[in-house]
Amino acid sequence: MTDPRIRASIRYPNDLTVPGMWHVRLVRSPYAAARVTHIDTSLLPEGVVVLTPSEVEPLGRYGCQISDQYVLAGVARHVGDPVAAVAAADEATAREAANLLEAGYERLPAVLDERDALRAGAPLVHDTHAVSDSDAAYFGLRPLEGTNVCHRFRIRTAGLPQGEPYTADPEPDDHAEGFDAAEVIVDETFHMPAVQHVAMEPHACIANWRDGKLEVTTGTQTPFNMRQDLARLFGLSDTDVRIVCPPMGGSFGAKTFVRTEAIAAAVARRLDRPVRLALDRDEEFVTLTRHAATVRIRLGATRGGRFVAKRVWCWVNTGAYADCGPGVAMKMGYAGVGPYRFDHVAVDSYCIYTNLPPAGAFRGYGAAQSVWASERVTDLMAAELGVDPVDLRRQNLLVDGDVFCTGETMHDVHFEELLDDAARAVDWQPGGDNRGKGVAVMLKGMQTPSKAEVGLRRVDDGRFEVLSGTTEMGQGSAKAIAQLAADLLGVDVDQVEVPPPDTDRVPYDTRTTSSRSTHMMGRALEAAVEDLKNSGSDYGHGRIANEGGLDVDTGQGIASSHWHQGAAAAAVEVDDETGALTLRSVHAASYAGRVVNRAAAELQQEGSIIMAIGTTLFEELTFDQGQVVGPNLSDYNIPSALDCAAVSQTILEVGGAEVHGLGETALPPVPPAIGNALASLGYRPTELPLTPERVLDCAEDPP
């Protein structure tokens, strides 16, 4: 059977219509910070319905980790913040009406840079920070009232002091922070800009109310979080909200938590009819971005190359609304430590509000930013010590039984094999001339704690239906789940149906994120098959839970119930007159445990490498007074087929091992592998992307 994606037979959320539906368009703030003073609807065509901030303010605020967002903004906090919604029977009228609506604004001071937002006198993006009661606020949140910090996360290994509550300009205290035994210290500050996911399909949803029950059909990776957040916002029980998730035309983290669904639901309730709200491409750029971040790393080692201590600061720009930024800041914090042994580790990671579009989940969640910094610093240390960068890593990599900085003992560890594989791919010469080549290695956590449930129903003719909350965004999860179920049941894969998630039909699942689904659903399916066999009925139910989590004040606990492990290598050439960087080879190696579907696993990995190439070499959201410059695919480039010729990969499989997710592992190590390759040619890159202009600017010996 031909893949339905190739037959173009999938109906994505953007394709859906329902009889009688109206169309919603949004009116967006042109200012980074402004109070809406009035909304003039006098020019609007007849029959158009307008929803204003004051009408939805009584619903209160929502947010998956911090409750900081009204359905429509009476105070706009970024350029593009929706301040009104207009609905009409046809889309053209709704568009015209949105253009004709005139909103008045009182400008307010704005702050755009993550570190400026911490400095004295910075305007406060939000006056207070209320922790959300959503399931997605699953760890201790530490908002700092009276500041722009909506969460701070710390790691302190035994005996290290807590230090300042927050700082934009830290003063290292080497004695207190465990650097006494360090004979060599390197210290550098790095930056990664905001980027956009650029899923082929923009956000689109349909909302409808039936007898007091809210039904939303939308592309989302988080159906159960969406159900809960919408239920609380509209004062309903969870079961009075139904979320249906058709396959998405890509997401990469963009379709997580509540995006436009609350607005659509509010308009549908006001009209008492179904409404469709679908975004244009330019609106995608103000809907969700990847966190821009500044990361400073101080690494201490002995002259013999043993890592002694590491100090990490992350300033994470979450934009106008926290979204899952606190979680991103936490993961950025521990990913920046890297898969190495240390005597002492201290990390401070701050999730910081600014007046930029909100940032949230993005493939490589939190790790991309700090692995860029951390693995560049590993090479800076190798250069300082005059040793081979691969050897220096190998000397300090975690092995089975070692203790990570969180206190957890590592198991099923394969960092060294992955690093060696990557080095081989670029013909690394141990101790020899490796100019133009670079490597990187990293670890990335999986959502912990997390729960997954799955139902397995025997239907007619020996066929089975898997009821799973795992959503399909092109990653092939439905196929992987069908394959896993077929293997466990001992039937052909064509005998297994995996319908799209519908929260009225499928049991609870935490969400389809952090490369967890194949791993968690695989285990839940084992339980469900067992239950089906034992129960003697036509229905089996599987439920598994991973316990754990970190103390956010010390970073001690269980960061991840298992670790995504990856390495990358790159070989580059640079035109030292133009700064143009040519990729000769980009290779990524990831640990898969047991592979469920090799072709799908390789495609996932290839996708991660390609996204990493784009965000390493040229993708960057630039802003003019908070406004995205060029929110279209001519001004914002993503990689083309011609940019991907140098890609290769290894999937490290261990027979009989547990299944590891592979959706993101290959992304974070690629930028530092390329950066390290560039650095070996006499450059000192700290900021991404590595445009030719930036390459020239970081030449150590400018022409």
Binding site: E577, T578, L617, F618, N637
Partner: protein
């Protein structure tokens, strides 16, 4: 909204005379994007897609390309490769095959977008366009066609019907500096031709129109690196470049010097051979 689809050049010209504000649609890769983004709200449109005469291509004397000849056809035509290698190279360098399949030579010149590849090369090759209206035919050198950002010297009732490129330009080079994707538009272009003892270097994609300084080019001593560097420095000095997502003005100034020098260097062997033959 009125959508007009003439079948002949005569009809098209007549419609353009009657509807001078109508937007011409050729391949649609430019106006299509603008219209979708709401940046171009035109009430009336004249589509040239059914005008077969505009798709004619002739290599019998000079190269004559109908305005609706696509980039892809130019890229793949073996006679153009042989006789007009600069034309082939520059159209092959545009965007992706998907764009090149649709975009046309008349469209790219009519848009007068500073970031397009072909104009600089067509100026370096002494190409001209034929502009037709009910009032008659005009021949306009490409160098005089593009006046500024999205501005041409076409009258409102005129349309480009053909682009003509003289024979004999075999010593050419097209240097395209991309700073992002391999399908991106150029940050800096240096298009150069050496013909009958004369070199023409045209810098594109850096300012509102292609930049050509014949007085600097006339000082070139092939093979003399000082002369080459002085011309390159002169181009960098005289051009006031734009800043955009593909490079800052300061970066472009540096790159103009690099790319002009490299373009001249690549023509030097041919120029030296020609000089030796002339002696």
């Amino acid at each position: 909204m009125t959508w007009m689809a003439p079948r002949t050049v005569a009809e098209a010209v007549q419609l353009k005379a009657e509807w001078p504000d109508a937007t011409l649609v050729a391949g649609g890769t430019f106006v299509g994007i603008l219209a979708r983004q709401g940046l171009l709200a035109s009430e009336d449109w004249i589509s040239l897609q059914y005008v077969r005469e505009l798709r004619e291509l002739s290599t019998s004397s000079e190269l004559a390309l109908g305005a609706m000849v696509t980039h892809r056809r130019i890229e793949l035509d073996p006679e153009i490769s042989m006789g007009w290698p600069g034309v082939q190279q520059v159209f092959a360098a545009v965007a992706s095959p998907r764009v090149r399949n649709a975009a046309t030579i008349g469209g790219v010149l009519g848009d007068a977008d500073y970031a397009s590849d072909p104009p600089a090369m067509l100026v370096a090759l002494d190409a001209w366009v034929e502009a037709l209206s009910v009032r008659g035919l005009r021949r306009i050198p490409v160098a005089d066609l593009i006046l500024g950002h999205y501005q041409t010297s076409l009258e409102e009732d005129e349309l480009i019907t053909r682009v003509l490129v003289p024979r004999g330009r075999h010593h050419v080079t097209y240097r395209k500096l991309r700073t992002r994707s391999r399908e991106d538009r150029p940050s800096v272009v240096a298009a150069a031709s050496f013909h009958e003892g004369r070199v023409s270097v045209v810098v594109g994609a850096v300012a509102e129109r292609p930049q050509f300084f014949p007085d600097l080019c006339a000082t070139w001593k092939p093979g003399d690196s000082t002369s080459t560097r002085e011309i390159a420095a002169g181009y960098a000095d005289r051009i006031d470049p734009v800043s955009d997502n593909r490079g800052s003005a300061a970066y472009r100034t540096r790159m103009i010097a690099v790319e002009v020098r490299r373009a001249l260097d690549s023509l030097a062997p041919a120029a030296l051979t020609s000089q030796a033959a002339g002696r």
